[in-house]
């Protein structure tokens, strides 16, 4: 059974069709790159997969749970239990330290556990920075805290929105190496990116254009096409 199955998913805002007839399947342990120009519907698709928005039509099944018609409350529960989010702008709570930012995710999920949060920070190489506020951390460090937070509740699916978009080359490399490690460990990752080199690390790439999947090819072909264009 696939981890994620989208069938004929559309999203319509008034007269604007943000997504049209999206069919997509993501297997467990797969790394999928999602590419496309601005306004192509990437964010809308991520919001729907991340249980933050409901599609206008179509069906979505995540880990065997069909959440096409679930209530807002159940959508929150699904998001909390099954999704880990990594953002381009990190979105750490500014008045909480690194470890507290991880504990907030635990707090909403089940029970805050400082020991476990510290271990998660150690895993991303930030144990020494655990008591620092986000403003005292570099961009790369903030992104690593964000990744640790996404992983703290053992999600089924990691959604990463341009995770290297706000990082310099060195930090971007560090973060990507970490994603590679997660992939090797069997995590399922869907990553939005504009960078073909980042997409090349994924097993599969899809390109969205005008709310439709324009390309559904092997990553090497897609990435090569992107590089050429």
């Amino acid at each position: 059974m696939s981890l994620l199955e989208l069938h004929d998913v559309s999203m319509i805002y008034g007269s604007v069709k943000a997504l049209q007839g999206i069919d997509l399947t993501v297997e467990k342990g797969e790394w999928l790159a999602l590419m496309g120009p601005s306004g192509s519907g990437k964010t809308t698709l991520m919001n729907i997969i991340g249980c933050m928005d409901k599609a206008s039509t179509g069906s979505i099944v995540l880990d065997g749970v069909d959440f096409t018609d679930v209530t807002a409350g159940n959508l929150t529960m699904l998001r909390r239990d099954k999704i880990g989010l990594v953002f381009q702008q990190f979105h750490l709570i500014p008045y909480l330290t690194a470890v507290e930012n991880l504990m907030v995710a635990q707090y909403y999920h089940s029970m805050p556990d400082e020991q476990e949060a510290l271990l998660a920070l150690e895993r991303v190489g930030l144990k020494e920075r655990a008591r620092h506020l986000p403003s005292q951390l570099s961009g790369g460090e903030q992104q690593r805290v964000c990744i640790a937070r996404a992983l703290i509740n053992y999600p089924m699916l990691i959604l990463a929105d341009e995770p290297t978009g706000n990082l310099d080359e060195t930090n971007a490399k560090l973060v990507l190496e970490f994603f590679q490690q997660l992939h090797r460990e069997g995590h399922t990752i869907i990553m939005v990116t504009h960078d073909p080199k980042v997409a090349e690390l994924a097993e599969r790439c899809i390109v969205l254009e005008h709310g439709r999947i324009a390309n559904r090819k092997d990553r090497r072909i897609v990435c090569r096409e992107e590089e050429v264009s």
């Binding site: 409350g73 989010l85 907030v104 999920h109 400082e114 506020l133």
Partner: protein
């Protein structure tokens, strides 16, 4: 470093949100504290004003008269002691007995009043004496300014007193000349016992003036009790004094009440505006929390928690400052210290928390409407 409870994490989030975002929260805290200061101060004054003003009003003279019942012109002095037993001693300022009659001073007839000068000092502190007050039980007298002017008498001068129809005369010293601006200036005042002896009316008085700190209702109750329990005596309220006292107090209290309401409303608006700004600038944080799985209930608890903590802190600060504010007003206006009222402090604290909670309702409602999707839209 073990598992912490959800409650301790909640507390940590609330305190960190307040302490690490000082500049914004200080404005809200200041608004609550100023509101609580004024409210606590004004309520203390509201509570204390009748007590303070009551004492002030007592300087305008008696507010209760004890008179002989029916058509009687005089009553026995011991009835006053019976009536006094019914009056609350902590509120009683003084009781001045009077025996009125006519007497000759230097062979001219005048109105005379026998009284206790010590008691008069308490009941009628507005009496102005040129010269000095006679010592208690002494044979020195006080004469009204009108009498003194007519006979050209100065303090320290010897005069002759005589009762009409009697040959006996008594030489006494004028200790002081009395000015009140009222009918007292036509009287001669001497010690009650001395006058009773001269008139051969031992143990008899015409009236007793009572000064007591009580409002109109309390005075009516006391009047009724004395009327029932002391036969031969008819107590009467000095309506002018009592009613004007009530009117002034009522107006003063209404003013304080009005100002308190206005201050509460202003605090409400100020806190609501600040909390609204807090919610607006934290939309992304709210969206993030929702994206992490926070339910609306959690968001409501967190923002209400922050608001109520602000209310409690501001209320506590304001209550303390309010007491000093009320103390300063009391000392400067009434010249008296006030005592700390724990109930008022508790009330100010509860009102601060309630007002802040109320002010948070709309901002909190707006916070729950933030969608989690905004964290990905990059708005």
């Amino acid at each position: 470093m073990t598992k912490m409870t959800k409650y301790s994490m909640y507390t940590k989030m609330i305190w960190n949100a307040l302490l690490r975002r000082r500049s914004r929260m200080l404005i809200a805290l200041l608004a609550v504290a100023i509101g609580a200061t004024v409210v606590s101060g004004l309520v203390t004054i509201y509570y204390d004003v009748p007590r303070q003003m009551g004492r002030e009003f007592r300087s305008y003279g008696a507010n209760l008269l004890l008179t002989p019942a029916g058509d009687q012109q005089v009553m026995m002095q011991n009835l006053v002691a019976n009536a006094t037993a019914l009056l609350p001693s902590d509120k009683l300022i003084g009781i001045a007995p009077y025996l009125y009659d006519r007497i000759k001073l230097n062979e001219q007839p005048f109105l005379v009043a026998g009284t206790s000068f010590q008691a008069v000092k308490k009941v009628s502190p507005y009496w102005q004496i040129r010269g000095e007050w006679p010592a208690d039980q002494s044979e020195d007298i006080v004469i009204g300014a009108e009498v003194a002017e007519r006979l050209e008498i100065e303090p320290g001068q010897q005069v002759t007193l005589a009762v009409a129809g009697s040959e006996a005369e008594k030489k006494v010293k004028v200790a002081g000349i009395l000015r009140t601006g009222g009918s007292e200036e036509n009287f001669i005042f001497l010690d009650l016992t001395l006058l009773q002896q001269m008139l051969k009316k031992e143990g008899v008085i015409s009236i007793a003036q009572v000064s007591i700190t009580a409002n109109e209702t309390e005075l009516n109750t006391l009047t009724q009790q004395i009327g029932e329990k002391v036969p031969g005596m008819e107590p009467r309220l000095v309506k002018q004094v009592t009613q004007s006292e009530q009117t002034v107090l009522g107006k003063l209290q209404a003013l304080v009440y009005l100002v308190t309401i206005v201050v509460l409303l202003l605090t409400l608006i100020c806190v609501a505006t600040t909390m609204m700004a807090v919610v607006t600038e934290r939309r992304k944080e709210i969206g993030l929390k929702k994206a992490l799985g926070a339910e609306n209930r959690s968001i409501i608890f967190e923002f209400l928690g922050e608001g109520l903590a602000l209310g409690a802190l501001g209320g506590l600060l304001g209550t303390v400052l309010g007491f000093f504010f009320a103390q300063a007003v009391s000392v400067n206006v009434f010249g008296r210290m006030i005592s700390f009222q724990p109930l008022i402090a508790l009330l100010a604290l509860v009102v601060s928390i309630a007002v802040t909670g109320l002010a948070c309702l709309v901002p909190v409602k707006i916070a729950t409407e933030v969608e989690p999707a905004i964290v990905l839209r990059g708005e």
